[in-house]
């Protein structure tokens, strides 16, 4: 890649725990390498994500932040020809260890995608999907309760409570995305991964999602990939900056956007490249 020569040699420091971190590390990544076929997309990423915080991943397009996010619930497994090296520990258990139950992992680590992807089912059935396949609830009233709760958590309940049986595809783009968040929340994951959840939304829908993220961090550990640095600054406690498949810096968001440790971070944030 020609860009690689333009960037100076990068010394990646094993990052100290972020100052805002309260709890222990929920997710700990050790020396993670990732390959699409012969192309290495991630180079020796090491990172800790403490419990109940929002961590934002920023960086230019193609820097590997989405790829990295997807390694945390093994969503890359479905792409043929990919390969992983290193460790991803969730609650001290390596999710790439042989014998890991991927289905169980994805229940604990939920995901919201860049493009909202509701199933062509009713609003209710969309939210109930994860509960049904995982046989979480034992009665239909319990199921209805969990669906209502998830929709309330996703701040969508008031808009859809009178039309739960209508198609999810009849919702607006912003509502569809919140429905997908509700769907992910319904099975009460421990970690919620969000891959540019607001990139296709208008400012009003975006601010709703951001408020939602702010509320959700009381209960969940949230990792959000975003292209929008203002968004990262608004919603996150900690920010990680990626460049060319390497993790450049992890820092408290406030520090990151005012006085980053790395020159590269500063250049990116001030808009000198990317």
């Amino acid at each position: 890649m020609p860009v690689q020569t333009a960037a100076p040699r990068i010394e990646v420091k094993a990052s100290a725990p972020p100052p805002t971190a309260g709890g222990k590390a929920k997710v700990a990544v050790r020396g993670l390498d990732f390959f699409y076929g012969r192309v290495q997309a991630l180079h020796g990423i090491s990172l800790e994500i403490p419990e109940r915080i929002v961590m934002a991943f920023i960086g230019p397009s193609g820097c590997g932040k989405s790829t990295f996010l997807r390694t945390l619930n093994r969503m890359n497994d479905v792409i043929p020809g990919t390969r992983v090296g290193g460790q991803v520990l969730i609650d001290d258990h390596d999710i790439y260890a042989p014998g890991t139950d991927v289905v169980e992992l994805r229940r604990r680590v939920g995901m919201v995608f860049q493009k909202s992807n509701p199933f062509p089912k009713s609003i209710f059935d969309n939210v109930a999907y994860g509960l049904r396949i995982n046989k979480v609830t034992s009665s239909s009233s319990e199921l209805a309760g969990r669906v209502e709760e998830a929709l309330k958590d996703a701040a969508l309940w008031n808009e859809v409570k009178d039309r739960l049986k209508t198609s999810a595809l009849s919702l607006s783009g912003g509502q569809q995305q919140r429905l997908c968040i509700a769907r992910a929340l319904a099975i009460r994951p421990e970690v919620l991964l969000m891959d540019e959840p607001a990139s296709a939304l208008d400012p009003i829908a975006t601010s709703k999602i951001e408020e939602l993220i702010f509320d959700l961090k009381k209960q969940y550990t949230i990792v959000i990939v975003t292209h929008n640095m203002q968004q990262a600054a608004r919603v996150s406690d900690t920010t990680a900056f990626f460049l060319l498949g390497k993790l450049i810096e992890v820092n408290a968001t406030e520090k990151m956007f005012t006085a980053p440790n790395e020159k590269l971070t500063e250049d990116y944030i001030t808009g000198r490249f990317g």
Partner: protein, 281 residues
């Protein structure tokens, strides 16, 4: 604007007009051919059509008779062939679209495509050899299997194409909720593609309901109402064929009427399936 520019503009408009006219003309020609066939059959067939004709079985020349046994036989044959052909075809399609990657998938796809091109009479002779001869008699079952064999590749390929149209993000959505692959396919991908798959199934049913050749060697035909799947069975197409090559004017007229019934039957299947699979979401 230069004169040259205006010329190019005129040329573009002329070409556009010419092409529009050409395509419209071709459409009119194709639709006309269809309308002529349909109206001719209706015109010729409607005369011999009455209620008795629809429920009676064939009688000797001069005594009237009907095609009730053939209608029933055709429906039975379609039912047998759908029971074998649709599930098998859909499963093959799911395999091709969702599971079979690499060489094996490519080989299966090639075989399915080849199967589509096999003349239906060959299928009939094949079933004659492997089912009819060992069983020592013609049967409805053999006829149904022959038709199923014709259905499988059609259903498989349309199912595959329809499943491929389902966006990948939908599969990821289900997988990210902890759904195993089989549940993702059954619960999300197939329902999303259901109208398309049903259309494919419908096309396959419509296609085999017009088949005559594979039935000549398998279901054979019968002048009586069907009593068991293990006996020869009448079908509209074979009945039409037998009556059409007979020397009697009365039977010719009955063949036309039977053709009209067959066409209506196919149209009816089409409408029912469309209705059942209309877009709910």
């Amino acid at each position: 604007m230069t004169a040259n520019y205006g010329n190019a503009d005129r040329m573009r408009r002329a070409t556009s007009a010419l092409m529009t006219t050409l395509t419209a003309l071709c459409t009119v020609l194709a639709v006309c051919a269809l309308l002529i066939i349909l109206s001719h059959i209706a015109w010729q067939g409607i005369g011999s059509l009455n209620f008795q004709f629809l429920i009676d079985r064939p009688r000797p020349v001069g005594e009237g008779g009907g095609i009730g046994n053939a209608i029933l036989g055709s429906l039975v044959l379609l039912l047998i062939s759908s029971a074998f052909g649709l599930p098998l075809g859909i499963c093959v399609g799911v395999y091709l679209a969702e599971i079979g990657r690499g060489r094996l998938g490519g080989a299966v796809r090639f075989i399915v495509d080849t199967l589509t091109g096999i003349p239906s009479i060959v299928t009939g002779v094949f079933i004659y050899a492997i089912l009819v001869i060992p069983m020592k008699h013609f049967s409805a079952l053999a006829g149904g299997v022959a038709l199923a064999l014709i259905m499988i590749p059609i259903v498989a390929r349309t199912t595959e194409e329809m499943l491929k149209l389902v966006p990948h993000s939908m599969r990821e959505g289900a997988l990210a909720l902890g759904a195993p692959q089989w549940r993702t396919i059954l619960g999300v991908v197939i329902p999303a593609a259901a109208p398309g798959i049903a259309t494919g199934a419908m096309l396959a049913i419509a296609r085999v309901s017009g088949e005559t050749a594979p039935l000549l060697f398998t279901a054979f035909g019968s002048r009586f109402f069907p009593r068991s799947l293990n006996e020869p069975i009448a079908s509209l197409t074979v009945q039409i064929y037998n009556y059409a090559i007979s020397p009697y004017d009365e039977w010719h007229a009955q063949a036309w009427a039977a053709t009209l019934v067959l066409m209506t039957l196919v149209l009816g299947i089409n409408i029912i399936v469309r209705f059942l699979t209309r877009k709910k979401f």
